[in-house]
């Protein structure tokens, strides 16, 4: 479960006043989770670019962070929008699920990468955020800009699909 940290709000407030050291501390704290999410989303080649763009937007608009949600929720929402914008542009097919983002086991990572590649974009994002990164349904719904009920059904559907794929190999 992502840790709640009021320090983020303080750091973001300082970043909004132009404190680059505070901003660097935020980047250092959140880059791993954000890049891991983006790589798992299938943006292995562009994950760093999207993450950089998201962090720069967070820097530029740090004054707009109101502290109602966690900083990481706000940041992930920005990154999600960057990802969706990038996905809309014509480009070569991304290698969905590839890369070294998994929790450790490369074989499991390859299997889950294959599963994720068969899910829709939103299903994939919802599943990664809720099942992999430990966000609550409410927080994930906020990140992805979905109603809570839609998010819950999306996660359930994605999970059921993965379960079916997994069962084919293990039953």
């Amino acid at each position: 479960m992502p840790e709640h940290d009021d320090q983020d709000a303080v750091l973001c407030g300082r970043a909004a006043r132009g404190d680059r050291a505070a901003f660097a501390a935020l980047v250092a704290k959140h880059e791993r989770g954000l890049r891991g999410f983006l790589v798992r989303m299938g943006a292995a080649d562009s994950a760093d670019d999207i993450a950089q763009e998201a962090f720069l937007k967070a820097w530029r608009f740090a004054g707009q962070y109101d502290g109602r949600a966690r900083f990481s929720t706000w940041l992930t929402r920005i990154a999600w929008r960057c990802y969706v914008d990038l996905a809309r542009r014509p480009k070569p097919e991304a290698d969905v699920g590839a890369g070294e983002s998994g929790g450790g086991d490369p074989a499991a990572s390859a299997v889950v990468g294959d599963m994720l590649s068969r899910l829709g974009t939103v299903e994939r994002a919802a599943l990664i955020l809720c099942e992999g990164h430990g966000w609550s349904h409410g927080e994930a719904a906020e990140m992805l800009g979905l109603p809570l009920g839609t998010l819950k059904s999306t996660v359930a559907r994605a999970k059921a699909k993965c379960r079916a794929m997994w069962s084919e190999e293990h039953d």
Partner: protein, 136 residues
């Protein structure tokens, strides 16, 4: 929940978890550098807009002055008369006025950039201590 379900749950959590690794200092430095570039670019853009605005105001003032001269040649003749040096002095004075107005803005923008760069260089050493400062 069956044993198979539990195995699937464990597999999913494990496979989708964020990577376990140390923070990527190179990435942090890259983002910081991009933020510095963006700030600098924004400052330059802002300074350019100010210069452009000032230029437009100067042109408008000049045009207005010309319009006044054209509209009331007798009043101008009363001031300048047949002395071209007075006209030359007035033009030189106007040019100096524009230069004086434009110069401080450019100097201020450059000084601000230098201050930001110096601040950023100082921060590169200060960054690791920020969280400790907050904790205290």
């Amino acid at each position: 929940m069956t044993e198979q379900d539990q195995r699937f749950e464990d597999f999913l959590h494990h496979a989708l978890a964020p990577p376990e690794r140390q923070e990527d200092h190179a990435f942090v430095a890259r983002v910081q550098a991009l933020a510095r570039v963006e700030d600098r670019w924004a400052a330059e853009r802002s300074a350019a807009w100010r210069r452009f605005t000032l230029g437009m105001v100067a042109i408008a003032a000049f045009a207005l002055g010309m319009a006044v001269i054209m509209a009331a040649p007798s009043a101008v003749e009363a001031v300048i008369g047949d002395r071209p040096t007075v006209l030359a002095l007035l033009i030189a004075g106007f040019g100096a006025w524009v230069a004086v107005l434009a110069r401080p803005i450019r100097i201020q923008a450059e000084a601000r950039d230098r201050a930001r760069l110096a601040h950023a260089e100082g921060e590169q050493q200060a960054t690791p201590g920020v969280l400790n400062d907050l904790a205290r």
